[in-house]
């Protein structure tokens, strides 16, 4: 299962719900405003720091760059480009977008 979150954890509770229902070892991809969860401050308060210890966490590099947050990524998060996004979707039998 690949979980995809596109909202800031300070705006909606999408990430919170996702983390509550994601099983150990599953993958989480942060895109659009979701990438803010992987930056200092919000990573702690959103539970992302803890989640990175049990999930494979990815963040979309173009969205980090757009927001000026490329250099602020917390540890335990892997950045991917659009081709990597496609690979992740192809690798997992199911994707869930937490809109």
């Amino acid at each position: 299962m690949l979980h995809i979150v596109n909202k800031s954890p300070a705006q909606t509770r999408s990430l919170e719900s996702c983390l509550r229902l994601a099983k150990d070892g599953q993958a989480l991809l942060l895109i659009e405003d979701g990438v803010y969860a992987a930056t200092p401050g919000l990573a702690e308060s959103s539970g992302l720091t803890q989640a990175a210890k049990r999930l494979k966490v990815y963040a979309l590099q173009p969205d980090l760059e757009a927001r000026g947050m490329s250099s602020k990524l917390v540890e335990g998060v892997v950045t991917i480009d659009y081709a990597g996004f496609v690979d992740l979707v192809a690798e997992h039998s199911t994707s869930q977008s937490w809109l």
Binding site: Q11, Y36, D63, A66, M69
Partner: protein
């Protein structure tokens, strides 16, 4: 002249709010009103320096904040609590701002004739 405050609380690209706020700020300034902007919650992210939107195909509107003083819009405030909660400091921002406490922001809001939140 009326006192207009624009309250920005959304990140820059996930929705149209940040850009729309800028548009209305510029229009209001054209009518020679007393305009101020305050950035709270995820709105602080609008001012982060180094934004590069090339790969997502959306216009980078962040340089516009630096052009606001050309329209006599010089009152930019950031709520300290929101900035700190996001691990940011003034050095991360692309324009000079005045950093205020929540209580100070509340006082400023109370002085306004018009408050518009985006």
């Amino acid at each position: 002249m009326k006192k207009f405050m624009f309250v920005n609380r959304r990140p820059p690209y996930g929705s149209i709010y940040a850009l729309e706020s800028l548009e209305v700020v510029l229009i209001t300034a054209t009518f020679d009103q007393d305009v101020s902007l305050v950035f709270i919650d995820d709105g602080v992210y609008e001012l982060v320096k180094g934004q590069n939107t090339k790969a997502i195909g959306i216009k980078n509107h962040s340089p516009t904040y630096r052009a606001l003083d050309g329209y006599d819009v010089e009152k930019l405030y950031v709520e300290r609590e929101s900035m700190q909660a996001r691990g940011l400091t003034e050095a991360d921002l692309l324009v000079d701002v005045e950093v205020l406490s929540s209580a100070e922001v509340a006082d400023l809001m109370a002085e306004q004739d018009v408050v518009l939140t985006f």
